[in-house]
Symmetry: C3
Subunit: 342 residues, 3 copies
Amino acid sequence: MPWTRHHILSLADFSPAEYDIVLQTASSFREVLSRRTKKVPTLQGQVVANLFFESSTRTRSSFELAAKRLSADTLNFAPGTSSLSKGETILDTAKTYLAMGTDMMVIRHKEAGVPQAIAAEMDRLGVRVGVLNAGDGQHEHPSQALLDLFTICTLLDTDNPQLSLLKGKKVAIVGDILHSRVARSNIWSLTASGAEVHLAAPATLLPKEFSDYVKEEPLKEESTSPSSPVVALDRRLFIHWSLAPALQNADFVMTLRLQKERMTSYLLPSLREYHQQFGITRDRLKLCHPEVKVLHPGPVNRGVEISSDLMDDPQFSLISQQVTSGVAVRMALLYLMGGGKV
Amino acid sequence: MPWTRHHILSLADFSPAEYDIVLQTASSFREVLSRRTKKVPTLQGQVVANLFFESSTRTRSSFELAAKRLSADTLNFAPGTSSLSKGETILDTAKTYLAMGTDMMVIRHKEAGVPQAIAAEMDRLGVRVGVLNAGDGQHEHPSQALLDLFTICTLLDTDNPQLSLLKGKKVAIVGDILHSRVARSNIWSLTASGAEVHLAAPATLLPKEFSDYVKEEPLKEESTSPSSPVVALDRRLFIHWSLAPALQNADFVMTLRLQKERMTSYLLPSLREYHQQFGITRDRLKLCHPEVKVLHPGPVNRGVEISSDLMDDPQFSLISQQVTSGVAVRMALLYLMGGGKV
Amino acid sequence: MPWTRHHILSLADFSPAEYDIVLQTASSFREVLSRRTKKVPTLQGQVVANLFFESSTRTRSSFELAAKRLSADTLNFAPGTSSLSKGETILDTAKTYLAMGTDMMVIRHKEAGVPQAIAAEMDRLGVRVGVLNAGDGQHEHPSQALLDLFTICTLLDTDNPQLSLLKGKKVAIVGDILHSRVARSNIWSLTASGAEVHLAAPATLLPKEFSDYVKEEPLKEESTSPSSPVVALDRRLFIHWSLAPALQNADFVMTLRLQKERMTSYLLPSLREYHQQFGITRDRLKLCHPEVKVLHPGPVNRGVEISSDLMDDPQFSLISQQVTSGVAVRMALLYLMGGGKV
């Protein structure tokens, strides 16, 4: 099956075949990255513009490095010093980068829908410029979910990572799911794989209505008693307001970043209390499958989402592998958007 | 005629032959940019330092991309984090970049004359480092005027853009001419071409004394009556305090960016009123030549200098072409400053 | 002797052979930089991350250019927009860059010991990633001291710069020695060379206890009278609270940057008074050897540490050569850390 998508905006409509193409392409770039000279000439002479309207060092560096290793030239947009502060619209900024000769745009914005709007405008103009959503508000962050998927699948089969490897595995996603674009994208990819996905968070950070997110499936409530609030969505997505049922026999635990500003909006009593109830520790992992692995998209608040010693323990933590996977997966995405042959 | 200028600071003393060399060189780079691999090895191993003491994303990105497409390495200077805040003089900053091995400097500063001072210092030191003025205060912005010129001449003759194509054309420059370095540079190039240049702005943004700007020509007042204030400077430069006479039969309308901070200095009653009197709309263009084209250096305040629908209408708007021309023209300027053969 | 060090954190334990390897390697890169095409493919495909937690334009540009001229890709970390403000620890930031595939890290931080802590963590993880200290608090700035050494030794023998050339020379270091990481690193390299090093500063910026810095030598007080406070440390390091004895017959005068914020901490009466007592002027240089040269790490406060005319006089000033040496020396350091053959 050939790759036909030239924007990567959301995983909501990704097909299993598309997940597998990304996994296989990333796998071949992972091999490139293990060589001493880690560059390939694939995108030589092409321009990747990193339009990070919301500032970020980590994700921007990962995309920048991915682009450079494909031999592309990169342009970095710095919102603080930009035309935006001079009254230009975001679409006009994007069209300016288009007119300069940008071939691909990697876009992060604090409001949901901005990458989609820019992609629609590129299509309306009839230009073949790919747009990649590097995080839009609380909506989606597809490259993060794809690198999480790649990290897990590579662990399960180093040489042949495939979506179907996750079938029947239990994955817990723990933390501020309400505000997390990472969680939203991961729910799409993990449920598509046939994994059982268990969300766990305080009720303020995971209202029951959140289950509406996976719209195509009928909501089947198994229990709504306050002491054990479990909501099941078909056989794959479960919602918990406490940690233990989510961890029970889990193969993978994905922790989410807790943004401290949530404290000020009265959604959380205290960081200490959050850690006591939802923080992942070595002790709590005893509930899980013995070979359980823990992921976190970073940056980590040590001792809040995850205990410090656990984060550093290679027996459990995949955090460093996630970062490494990020470069390979982003190379794959830029390569595929650029029309690379599979 | 060979190119002899190694600084590009002002268009005041540009000769017609020099304009034509820039246009022809940019035309050949425009052809390079239409290829899939848009890079040439011309400046390989050379260093272009972008010293933007006044921050800018748009112009800096355009120069950075031009330099990269010539295979130069680029250094970006960020004023916020620089030695300037530690008491170093601007000349010492420039000399530091010189000593590091910079071959060309692209300089923007909020005060007029800074690029000229740096160029003079380079000459005094006997080094062959080219300095390009990327905007100095309200003085000049030569690369913007050259890309405007290239955009227009390429429209008039795609394969052979020349200064003389503009002879006899009527060009209106509309907006905050008083504070515009873009207008100042454009007045030099357009009058040099033999075009008829008509400036239109509220009297507060275009005082009559402004006509002194073109110093070599005798001032011949045709009328000073408040109701129809038209001042003619030889046969080429006309000043209007209202829009209609400037637009009458115009071939090109150059709109200028209105800096909103002008409002606070009591030079304008309101943006709405400005748009009513000087904003360019589809309706007002009916005064112009039927094939009139509209330019704007960007970033645009939609609905202020120009109506939003007109800005997006490819029948009238050259705004996107200006941005594209920018990269080709800046490649040409860096190439010529670097001693490229013509 | 082969090069074995893969971190460059301090000059305290540098051996004479190591100094000579750096000088010779820098000398060969100095030759490369004199060619028209100043690039070599040495580090092609490798990634140098500039992690400047304390912002700097000058030093970062110098390292960035050094890396690019070795054909490395560079990543720049901008603290203002980084994960640090989101609660990530510095070690975690460094490990993120490691996991992305960084081969070398150049680190500046306002607190002493940060590069050392990161280097120790890399070693603990068993990865071969080199860490270079680009300035840690008031502790050390080894690449600055090495470029000062290279500048002096190249002056003494252009083709064959060696540590031993400095033997018996008198070097004065003047200014805010108490707070200067540049001074601390220079004291190690200069005393290692066999030069006589004379420190001169107001007593508030050079307490007598400072002589403890060179710990391996017994303290021998020659005089402690207030009018002529001279303290000798073996035959090589001398401390003065006035300028004249330090300048007497000096071959080299290293001036240090005076940070103006010292004024507010009551360490200095006024900049004018500082200049009167410790500023280097043409007149004061008459005390020195007739061929004396003056150095300054920059950025310079003209008229404070050094008079403006003297700074610009090529007969005396090596300031511009220091900046040029900086690129060659940093190329040498990255090359050696990268395992280059000597």
